[in-house]
Symmetry: C2
Subunit: 324 residues, 2 copies
Amino acid sequence: MLACAATYRVFKSAAGAQSAESDPLHSWNDGPAKQAITKFVQTTTDQSSSSYVPHEERIATFDQDGTLWVEHPVYTQVIYCLDRVPVVVKEKAELAKVEPFKTVLSGDHEAIAKLTMADLLKIVAAAITGMSVEDYTTEIKKWLDTAKDSRWKRPYTELTYLPMIELLKYLRANGYRTYIVTGGGQDFVRVYAEEVYGIPPEQVVGTSVGISYGYDKNGRPFLTREPELLLNDDNAGKPEGIHLMIGRRPYAAFGNSIGDRQMLEYTKAGDGARLAMLVSHDDAQREYAYGPAQGLPDTKVGTFTQELYDEAKKGWLDCHQHEE
Amino acid sequence: MLACAATYRVFKSAAGAQSAESDPLHSWNDGPAKQAITKFVQTTTDQSSSSYVPHEERIATFDQDGTLWVEHPVYTQVIYCLDRVPVVVKEKAELAKVEPFKTVLSGDHEAIAKLTMADLLKIVAAAITGMSVEDYTTEIKKWLDTAKDSRWKRPYTELTYLPMIELLKYLRANGYRTYIVTGGGQDFVRVYAEEVYGIPPEQVVGTSVGISYGYDKNGRPFLTREPELLLNDDNAGKPEGIHLMIGRRPYAAFGNSIGDRQMLEYTKAGDGARLAMLVSHDDAQREYAYGPAQGLPDTKVGTFTQELYDEAKKGWLDCHQHEE
């Protein structure tokens, strides 16, 4: 079965999209990417095909950041964590004088942009652990209702890719269960995944902190988010997380960066028809142009995404016809 | 909503069960346990009820050993591991001279029965890790096809409780998704859960070892089971595992021992109508009589199950009426 690299060039302009509402993938141009998708779906859902996939095994997994919604210039979850710093400092006043919290509170954008990964991890740990799972959910909901992206002036939950939303719906309409498999926080994405993507909490696989069961002063049980990493759902952690949470190998997988490589490989290594695709970012007007499609480094993953893209072009994600 | 302790006394004899095939719970006597179940289902699926639960939130979780199938005199998974010892020793000859493998190979039932928990863990680690997830699944399937319980002379997969199978089906017929939440091995139970209980792999939450992604000599990716505990899905690990794997609080939960306590508490602590039930083993003819219902100690969990049973009787799992 075909498995090709998709690029933003395959997506029609918004005006063009209006003209073909009857097509479930009407934002996609009629190129090899769209053809690969429709051929995959036809082959795997046709009972007379030797590549037929029973309903219960129809699993499709999607990376989120950069695959379903915008990840530039900063992961949305990192922005959430930075925005949480004033609240964190209110609860723990001593942090106001300590780095990296001091820099974040200064509001100095240049200094904030220079924070190291170690600094960010300290902020993330303080912002997303040490609270009940309910409180965490409530805080994210509140933030999503008010926070806006600085370039697009819209809520983050509106910064999704229409063609990918169409693809989610098209696969579901054909009996596929769609999962998010994200390097981002599992419980973060769960807050909005149902509303934004139509993906329920139990179909979100992501990076997870430890959760501990305990009782409040009234003896009522509750779950606390602990400052320890339980699952790192990126790179090799993606197929590992898929096995843990789903227990089935996907038939289709979609990503955009080196962190998705193992998920795509694992998907393609299964028997029968499998589809593995890369989203490439080449539209500076309607989104951002970055990474290998532009000959530009991916600021997050350096040259590794280039390597993945080159492999896809060479045939690593190329046509793979099931022996019939 | 009612939440009561069920005992085997509530299950009709096989002869009685034949007479009411139109009743989805026809193996259950018309006692408080059955009434609690049907009332719970009616209340939570009636759109005009203030306790109505939307389809997507209808989650019911079931312990497996001693709740869905027989756990006496030894957990089936432990028997599998003991049966695997000759194969393990064939691959690693040096183990034949080392305890506890030496004792298992001796076939001396009395000596085997005296193995400590530490001994069993060594056997389990050798029997279920250090292989690919596919090989593990294949071995279990082969074993289940041939192994038989020594008392009942039947395959282990036939030693399920008919009333509980009826309950699984009844809940599913009413829109509930049924999950297994087991202290046993997640990948072990996944092998047969779909065929035996109608529960797909992604709805089995269990104790899990670490899984690592790698490549074979042909560059084909595969997942290896590592000798490290990733999730201990018993006691507090049950609600923690439920949060990780499902991300929703169950509306109904079923267990039989102290290892299920936190899952039952967590379920009952949610808003609205919740059902939490204990299976108690008091039928020595058709199964085994053990634990608190018999005034006998539960050989696996000592006096703790007695404590849970007493609490259930006192009202810990008693009537809980949602304020309407």
